[in-house]
């Protein structure tokens, strides 16, 4: 299991498009991916749950990946978050 504490640096946080980008990455991997933020813990593979978290720009997000490809999965999510979801 790997865990990374990130900060969302994009302006809008996990709104529709960034949330779907994150979920689509999580779906590519076998590992279970859990997100913690805004007082909630959700399955990153469920777009509806990720959107419902309501994590805003500038807020912390904890990502936990657990499974056979957890390192690759975490690297991909980190790349997405660090690059502001390739939106800005």
């Amino acid at each position: 299991m790997v865990q990374e504490n990130m900060v969302l640096t994009n302006e809008l946080g996990l709104h529709a498009r960034p949330a779907s980008a994150l979920t689509k990455i999580a779906l590519k991997y076998k590992s279970n991916v859990t997100l913690q933020g805004n007082g909630k813990t959700v399955d990153a593979k469920s777009i509806i749950m990720v959107m419902t978290m309501g994590v805003k720009g500038g807020c912390p997000l904890i990502v936990i990946a657990d499974g056979p490809d957890e390192l690759e999965c975490m690297a991909a999510i980190q790349d997405l978050v660090e690059n502001k979801f390739y939106e800005e």
């Binding site: 779907s20 979920t23 779906l27 469920s46 777009i47």
Partner: protein, 130 residues
């Protein structure tokens, strides 16, 4: 890739749900809006639904999202108009229309099977908003 058909009594609702789902899905996912009846009035038309089901199916199947009441009956009628092979990979998701369409289209973007895409749509049923 699994296709998505959004069926509503209102053409505007179907188009709006498609627009929201399109924004979140990969461009390769085919999302077809199918709303209203011929004269622009509210309703669902089995023939129109049948055409939408055929258009959305690239061979991997279709997940159908419906709004209320007779949308389900019209979809059953449309399915009866298709032959057995065309019908085989079409699933009606027992899910809320907007949330279900968004979940289904994101899941379909990942290249999942028709059953997995339908299950993702149905997972939206248990979501609380507050």
């Amino acid at each position: 890739m699994v296709g998505i058909v959004v069926i509503s009594h209102s053409a505007k609702v179907a188009e709006g749900v498609k627009a929201m789902a399109d924004q979140m899905a990969d461009k390769s996912v085919s999302i077809i809006a199918c709303g209203g009846i011929e004269n622009g009035e509210l309703g669902t038309d089995p023939m129109k639904i049948m055409e939408a089901l055929i258009r959305a199916n690239s061979g991997d199947g279709v997940v159908v999202l419906v709004d209320l009441g007779s949308a389900v009956l019209s979809t059953y009628t449309a399915l009866e108009l298709l032959d057995k092979e065309e019908r085989r990979l079409i699933k009606i998701a027992d899910a809320p229309l907007i949330e279900g369409a968004i979940c289904a289209s994101v899941q379909a973007s990942g290249g999942f099977s028709v059953n997995e895409v339908a299950a993702a749509a149905e997972s939206a049923r248990s979501m609380l908003k507050l």
